[in-house]
């Protein structure tokens, strides 16, 4: 990838293996074999205009804007060539528009033809100011038009989904959007329609462009043909400030660009990071950001008024004093538990971890605001916490893997960018993808994958018997580079982590744990868990404790030495009075395995401090509520699932919102403890001083349970979250919500018959807690299994049923 020095002589230039030498505009260049001319020229600093070309899409050669003159073996090719489709060759002589009048005229000619039917609505077009067509027309086009005939017109924009609008008059038919959808996303719901001059982009009748990745087409559209319903007419690009950022939603840690003005985010775009998200992001990452500006955002501290029993706004001083006093009293009574939620930055999570240890003197802290298990904690603290991009699975590693086995992991719903990599890997033909799950989801098909279906809860058994039933999978997993990707619902499956670990030991495949939320990996790393201190140090390990005590400058022996309670343990203890207080970060009790228990704990706990953005079921019970900054109003970093640090700076300055680490730092001071986490940078520096501890080893040994029949009228529940659902960070995004997948239950045909369910009818799923009725579809699930989305629309499995993946539920025909 080197560019030859300025004045090379034949003797000087050594062409490395796998490279060729050519001349572009009189300059000798060395280029890797297979490189497209347009890129080689670009490395030289010559930008050849283009529309259809995109480095991550297969070449199309459709727009013809990038024509150049090419000479091979001393013979000029008779026609100008599209530099976006022609690869470099040894001895090739290329003349771009800079040195070739023919190429220049060809480019001008194509530009003129692109413009004859283009409307003159740049002044009202969202793309104006950042439009490749506009820019190139100015750079390479004529100043007037020879076209005096009738322009092609279409009705102005049509909604092709709730979030994407299509203006066919502006479209130059480069097919970037259709190629992205077909190649990258695997969602061919937007297509070329009609022919010739009538050709246009479109969708099938009544079939909107329902893709989790549709926003990327807006970003790569080289004109204003595809625009965002949420952003339309909101701003001009030249009035926006762009700040590099990192997505706060899932654990992929995508690079983003946040565009804002006057203290308000207007849009988010995908950043370019070849190691992580390439140039793509999912629609949640792109469109879900208005939660931070929701009308009910908490901006002032709140203290529960002793007389009215209601929360009232207070000064920071008062709130801090009340909180410190309450927490101190609770600590000194039966103690305080800390629930951090899974969305914190590393710096904020660290502050919670340190706060628990030195202000509250407890290991009762857990980041897992979702179903969890001791087996999971053992796995995470023994294995995952020590993985990083150097020694573990990475995005790029997935691309090279001979096989990927997905266990209790729904990539498209839970980590969409991992899904895109899996699809890319599968499409290049290198990677075989196996999904251990319950039915053939769209992701199974789009990763060209194989479903290994089992009853929910039987995944561990299936893994243990893999050699028996699917020896080909074991064989592929034994090849170097193979990976096993484990999702968050593995925590609901007894024996799953044990079985995965054994399988990895048998095959040599690497395991990656891919949680759903952006903050989970970071919280694990900083010890927001009952058994770990920062850096993977076990709390029971005396020398590890001493290391931490010394670095923190606290009294030796002051750190609690026994593992604390996990999330459920903390809630149970709070509910029955064994804990006197709670500090709760961004936790939605309805995400917890047993929301009823959470409700009870919140009601019973003596003293509750909540750090929150918006009113919630936690603030409803809290004695003190501290407002905290959303991601765009603070700096920090996430640790993505790879263990890669994803640092981001402050986007919106001067909003006055404080990050959790600052609030906790001040609160700790009120409690006579110093966290040294006044700012994210200080927190990060304090954390860095600790470094990583020594692995303490893990002893996973949870047996796979015997499966017993569900019983008459009962079925086993399969459930997981969908990308677009009721998540609290998706509020105020109606356009995004419109692209959610339909809320339906799924059963096998045979199960439907057993329960007397009609196709197209309804099913009622119930437990002693409650019942949910929803439409039912048949799919290829194992017999006796019913699937529900965990938290979509009216279906709130945990809140309504108190059930989870693997639970036994009652099933009956619902209203029709």
């Amino acid at each position: 990838m080197t560019i030859a020095p300025d004045k090379p002589t034949a003797a000087e230039v050594v062409v490395p293996e796998g490279h060729v030498k050519l001349i572009i505009d009189g300059v000798e260049v060395i280029a890797p074999k297979g490189e497209l001319l347009i890129r080689t020229a670009e490395r030289l600093g010559t930008v050849i205009p283009r529309f259809c070309d995109h480095p991550l899409l297969e070449p199309a050669g459709a727009c013809r804007q990038c024509l150049v003159e090419v000479e091979m073996g001393g013979r000029p090719m008779p026609k100008p060539q599209a530099s976006c489709t022609m690869t470099v060759a040894d001895g090739m002589v290329v003349k771009t528009q800079l040195t070739s009048p023919v190429a220049d005229k060809a480019q001008q000619g194509v530009m003129e033809l692109l413009l004859i039917n283009h409307p003159l609505d740049c002044p009202v077009c969202d793309k104006g100011g950042e439009c490749p067509l506009q820019n190139q027309a100015i750079a390479h086009g004529r100043s007037d038009s020879r076209f005096h005939e009738h322009k092609r017109t279409f009705p102005k924009p049509i909604n092709i989904s709730t979030q994407v609008l299509l203006d066919r008059e502006r479209c130059v038919l480069c097919q970037r959007c259709t190629r992205f959808s077909a190649q990258i996303a695997g969602d061919p719901f937007i297509e070329l329609l009609e022919r010739g001059a009538h050709q246009q982009i479109g969708i099938a009748q009544e079939k909107p462009f329902q893709s989790y990745f549709s926003g990327n087409t807006i970003q790569i559209c080289p004109v204003g043909a595809l625009t965002s319903a949420a952003y339309r007419f909101r701003a001009r690009p030249f009035d926006l400030v762009s700040t590099p950022s990192v997505c706060e939603h899932c654990s992929s840690g995508c690079a983003e660009r946040t565009d804002w003005r006057r203290g308000k985010v207007q849009r988010k775009l995908a950043g370019d990071d070849p190691q992580v998200n390439e140039e793509w992001i999912c629609d949640k990452g792109r469109f879900a950001f208005r939660y931070a500006t929701a009308g009910d955002r908490i901006t002032r501290p709140l203290v529960r008024d002793e007389e009215t029993g209601e929360l009232r706004e207070s000064s920071w001083t008062e709130a801090l004093q009340v909180a410190a006093a309450g927490l101190t009293a609770a600590r000194d009574a039966n103690g305080v538990g800390v629930l951090t939620g899974g969305r914190l930055t590393v710096e904020d999570a660290y502050a919670y971890s340190k706060f628990a240890r030195i202000a509250l003197h407890t290991n009762d802290i857990d980041f897992r605001a979702r179903p969890h298990s001791a087996e999971e904690l053992e796995f995470l603290s023994g294995t995952t916490v020590f993985t990083n991009p150097d020694n573990g699975v990475t995005f790029q590693g997935i691309e090279k893997a001979p096989a990927a086995l997905l266990v209790a992991f729904e990539p498209e719903e839970e980590a969409p960018i991992v899904f895109l990599r899996l699809r890319k890997a599968a499409r290049t033909g290198k990677t075989k993808v196996f999904h251990l799950g319950q039915f053939t989801t769209p992701a199974v098909e789009k990763t060209l994958g194989t479903l290994l279906a089992c009853v929910p809860g039987a995944e561990a058994n299936a893994l243990n018997a893999l050699a028996e039933h699917a020896s080909d999978v074991v064989e592929l997993l034994s090849k170097p580079g193979a990976v096993i990707l484990v999702g968050e619902r593995a925590a609901e499956i007894p024996g799953a982590f044990t079985a995965v670990t054994r399988l990895a030991e048998r095959t040599g495949a690497k395991i990656a744990w891919i949680p759903r939320r952006a903050g989970e990996r970071g919280a694990l790393a900083v010890g927001a868990t009952p058994n770990l201190l920062p850096g993977g140090r076990h709390v029971a390990n005396a020398s590890a404790r001493i290391e931490v005590e010394r670095t923190w400058g606290v009294e030796e022996g002051s750190l609690p030495a026994t593992p604390g309670r996990d999330t459920t343990g903390i809630l149970e203890a709070a509910a029955n009075g064994q804990l006197s207080g709670l500090v709760v970060g961004g936790v939605d009790p309805f995400d917890l395995p047993d929301p009823a228990l959470a409700e009870k704990a919140l009601a019973q706990a003596g003293f509750i401090v909540s750090l929150e953005l918006r009113p919630s079921a936690v603030t409803a019970h809290a004695d003190v509520v501290f407002p905290i900054a959303p991601a765009v109003e603070k700096s920090g970093s996430y640790l993505n699932w790879e263990g890669r640090r994803r640092e981001f700076g402050l986007t919106l300055e001067g909003t006055g919102a404080l990050p959790d680490c600052r609030v906790l730092d001040t609160l700790a001071v009120e409690m006579d403890a110093d966290l040294f986490t006044q700012t994210p940078a200080a927190s990060a520096a304090d954390l860095a001083r600790l470094g990583e501890g020594a692995p303490s080893g893990s002893s996973l040994n949870v047996a796979a349970p015997l499966q017993s029949p569900a019983g008459a009228g009962k079925a086993v529940l399969a459930t997981w979250h969908r990308l677009i659902g009721n998540g609290s960070l998706q509020v105020d995004e109606p356009h995004l919500a419109g692209t959610a997948r339909p809320v339906v239950a799924k059963v096998a045909e045979v199960t439907a018959q057993q329960f007397g369910l009609e196709t197209g009818g309804y099913v009622t799923v119930s437990t002693e807690r409650g019942a949910i009725t929803l439409p039912v579809e048949t799919d290829d699930l194992p017999e006796g299994v019913i699937w529900l989305p965990t938290n979509s629309g009216d279906v709130t499995v945990r809140a309504t049923l108190g059930a989870g993946h693997g639970s036994i539920v009652s099933v009956s025909g619902g209203k029709s």
Binding site: P188, R195, A204, T759
Partner: protein
């Protein structure tokens, strides 16, 4: 899989769709014939038809729509009992094709790809102007349901269309006895059951045979073939 769709596509159509798929090494190749099959049932490519093909071939409806809207022969609106296609490409037009089209247009009171009469009812006619129909030596030509009517004039064409409207089915110059648009589409999908007699419909006009006949008449012929032409030696492998 999902909700039952009320469609015009019965089991025999499903069987035919599956038979088309079985002809090819890869299923998607069946899409063009299957769209002809859809037209044989519906008289055009309906939205139901697009759903039907998408379901049979596991494609998205957008993918099927992309194909269905690309090709001229797939009609967007229900067609008449007969489809009358008049070649108005340059050569036929110069020989009178434009006049023929105008005559029929005026008579039927419809434009391109419009139907005179209630689509599908007896005597209803969809008119279109067509591009070159590969019968230039017989121009101007028109087709009814893709059967050829050669050497047309405005009067001849008008007579033909009037006959079609009154329920007659004048025989084509070249092609099988006339049926209707839907049955022609069934044959384009590759189903010819019970219509062996169609094969004997005329195919050669005097123009077609002109050169061969002159050669015969004048005793001209290609050089005589050798009794035993040898193959070249097996080339050596490079």
């Amino acid at each position: 899989m999902t909700q039952a769709q009320e469609t015009a596509f019965d089991q025999s159509t499903v069987d035919r769709a599956q038979a088309i798929i079985a002809r090819y090494p890869q299923a998607r190749s069946a899409l063009l014939p299957m769209l002809h099959l859809v037209q044989s049932v519906e008289g055009y490519v309906s939205q139901d038809g697009i759903r039907f093909c998408a379901g049979q071939l596991d494609l998205s409806e957008a993918e099927v729509s992309a194909v269905a809207t690309f090709y001229t022969m797939y009609k967007r609106r229900p067609c008449g009992e007969h489809l009358v296609s008049v070649c108005t490409n340059t050569l036929c037009a110069a020989l009178g094709g434009d006049d023929i089209y105008k005559t029929l247009k005026d008579h039927l009171g419809v434009g391109h790809e419009e139907t005179a009469g209630e689509p599908g009812t007896p005597g209803s006619i969809t008119l279109e102007h067509a591009e070159c129909l590969a019968a230039c030596d017989l121009g101007p030509v028109l087709q009814v349901n893709y059967e050829f009517y050669d050497n047309q004039t405005p009067d001849k064409a008008l007579g033909l269309v009037k006959a079609l409207q009154s329920g007659e089915k004048p025989a084509p110059t070249r092609g099988a006895p006339l049926t209707d648009f839907k049955q022609a589409e069934l044959q384009l999908a590759g189903f010819f059951e019970g219509r062996d007699a169609d094969l004997d419909g005329p195919s050669a006009a005097p123009e077609t045979l002109r050169g061969a006949q002159i050669a015969k008449d004048r005793g001209w012929d290609a050089p005589k073939m050798p009794a035993n032409a040898e193959f070249p030696a097996l080339p050596e492998k490079k």
